[in-house]
């Protein structure tokens, strides 16, 4: 039956802010774009292909899951695209294409839809998928050591094999190129003199510079710190994210990176730098800290809702990142796990950082005076 008037009636407010989920997700995509451009330059087309596989897998999985759950299909809100991009950003550029696909499927199906879809997941789906891949296909994930030199070789070859259905040949394909990523170098840099002063080792500045601009190896979109920083600033400027998490995260990493003795190799022997002289800049621009601080740790769903909570979250991420980087013998890099671990704590942080309601203080003091 058609209504008697064409006026729409709803409860107030009758105007809404311009930001909605769609626009937020699109801005995040846009902010990630420069970093992916650099990775294309740095790693070649195969990196772009892996990215496309990740994104495609995420979108398809999202559509299928939503169909299966009988909820509206919302792939046009770009949230699956963002998940795909973030996943691609943190996996090595030379993984087999099916690794990227499995990651994407895991991220959306297990990381998101098992928990009820967008807004209900506990962990950042992209990072959860990365941690999953780290366990499931460790050899693929640990060879993230591709510099400019190696571009266009092995990834395409592998793809050629798999596309021809020759999965068994994969086993014979050698994981030929191994080299130190910036992060591995932070974890165990090689020094020429025993008295270690970071700035004095040959190539330190080169390493920092390369990591900053994006000539170093690493995961797909981790390479260029400057592009990630630009993207992050764009998000801050558009008020998509708030300052608390990136600032506290980067600040904590810088501070602790400076304080904590960093291990380095001297003639095959592990030594430690003195206190208060860690490689701060390398900590900041190397590895995944930039993408972690601006894109991963600021994921709204899996971070605290209050300002205090976000500050705690940022500090926690920083502490765990440095802890893993400096003390872990298993991983050179700690960004992914630090964020996942802090994600785990978010419900508790939220419960403990509830804002004071307006007038609570006054009411309490009035009661006090009354007594």
């Amino acid at each position: 039956m058609s209504p008697l008037t064409h006026f729409i009636v709803s409860t107030p407010p009758h105007i809404k802010s311009e930001q909605n989920i769609n626009s937020i997700m699109r801005w995040v995509c846009l902010a990630l774009a420069p970093a992916f451009c650099v990775s294309l330059y740095s790693f070649g087309w195969y990196a772009l292909f892996v990215t496309a596989v990740c994104v495609g897998a995420c979108i398809a999985t999202e559509a299928i899951c939503q169909r299966l759950r009988h909820v509206p299909v919302t792939i046009n809100d770009f949230s699956a695209v963002v998940t795909g991009l973030l996943l691609a950003a943190v996996i090595p550029p030379n993984v087999d294409w099916w690794v990227a696909a499995v990651g994407g499927i895991f991220a959306i199906a297990v990381g998101k839809h098992c928990f009820g879809g967008l807004g209900n997941n506990i962990w950042n789906p992209a990072l959860l998928a990365r941690a999953f891949l780290q366990v499931a296909v460790a050899s693929q994930m640990n060879s993230g050591a591709w510099g400019k030199l190696a571009q266009g070789t092995d990834g395409w070859t592998k793809l050629g094999h798999t596309l021809h259905g020759a999965f068994d040949q994969l086993a014979n394909t050698p994981d030929a190129v191994t080299g130190a990523t910036a992060m591995a170098q932070i974890s165990r840099p090689v020094a020429e003199t025993k008295d270690f002063v970071m700035q004095n080792i040959p190539g330190y500045w080169q390493l920092v510079k390369d990591s900053f601009w994006g000539y170093e190896g690493g995961s797909i979109a981790e390479v260029s710190a400057v592009m990630l920083l630009l993207g992050g600033l764009l998000l801050l400027w558009k008020k998509i994210i708030t300052w608390e998490i990136p600032v506290m995260y980067l600040g904590t990493v810088a501070l602790l990176g400076w304080i904590c003795p960093a291990p380095y190799l001297y003639q095959g022997e592990t030594l430690y730098t003195p206190l208060f002289s860690g490689p701060v800049l390398l900590h900041l621009v190397g590895g995944g800290v930039m993408i972690g601080a601006f894109f991963m740790a600021t994921d709204m769903v899996t971070t605290p809702m209050t300002k205090t909570g976000r500050i705690i979250f940022g500090i926690g991420c920083g502490v765990i990142t440095i802890m893993i980087r400096v003390y872990s013998s298993a991983y050179p890099e700690g960004v992914c796990y630090s964020i996942l671990l802090m994600n785990t704590c978010v419900p508790l942080i939220d419960a403990w950082t509830k804002p004071k309601k307006f007038g609570q203080h006054a009411a309490a003091s009035a009661n006090h005076a009354g007594k």
């Binding site: 928990f115 941690a131 991983y331 704590c345």
Partner: protein, 203 residues
């Protein structure tokens, strides 16, 4: 000192009984629905784990490895059986005492208190003691096994408490019908285990 720290940090984070050794999953899934009962359960586990660690270690060192009894080699085959007996009696005791002295806590823990009896985390802790500390002197091994009990219990409580926070949040989430309850709890547990992998290699 460093040894003690290693035991503490290792068992709370790196070798967490639940998330890295997959012991004690039953109470972990069963009592992690809200934070207060998780905390109660965690406290109970810490308590029982310390008692069990120390008492079984004492039994092991004092009886099985006793100079006069060592020739019977009871430590080779009797440890698990006798430890279970010991733990069962302990838990029974705690349950009876709690029913009388803290009925509210007894109500929340409900069926799960007797489950501590068959909680493999406790048995695991006692076995770990035997493997790690049986070569030490009597007093030192007792102290270390008590510490192991505390650390293991704290690790258990930490995992349980984090899980409770997550499940409280999931309580109001529009989960798919098939995921409600235990399935999502297991998926969440696997997520936590993945996250805790980050501590790997620190000690």
């Amino acid at each position: 000192m460093k040894e003690y720290l290693t035991i503490m940090f290792g068992l709370v984070f790196v070798q967490n009984f639940i998330l890295s050794q997959f012991l004690g999953l039953c109470p972990f899934i069963g009592v992690s629905k809200n934070r207060s009962s998780a905390l109660g359960m965690g406290m109970a586990v810490i308590f029982v784990m310390v008692l069990a660690s120390v008492s079984t270690m004492a039994l092991y060192k004092g009886v099985f490895l006793n100079e006069t009894l060592i020739k019977y080699e009871m430590d080779k085959y009797l440890d698990i059986v006798s430890f279970i007996l010991m733990i069962a009696a302990l838990v029974q005791f705690v349950e009876i005492a709690m029913k009388k002295m803290a009925p509210a806590l007894y109500q929340t823990l409900g069926i799960f208190l007797p489950l501590i009896t068959t909680n493999c985390a406790i048995l695991g802790a006692t076995q770990m003691n035997v493997v790690k500390f049986s070569g030490l002197g009597f007093a030192e091994s007792l102290i270390k096994s008590a510490l192991l009990g505390v650390a293991g219990g704290i690790g258990f409580t930490l995992a349980l408490f984090l899980m409770a926070g997550i499940r409280e949040r999931l309580e109001n989430a529009p989960l798919p019908e098939s995921m409600k309850g235990v399935p999502i709890a297991f998926i969440a547990a696997s997520g936590m285990a993945l996250a805790f992998l980050g501590f790997q290699g620190i000690i």
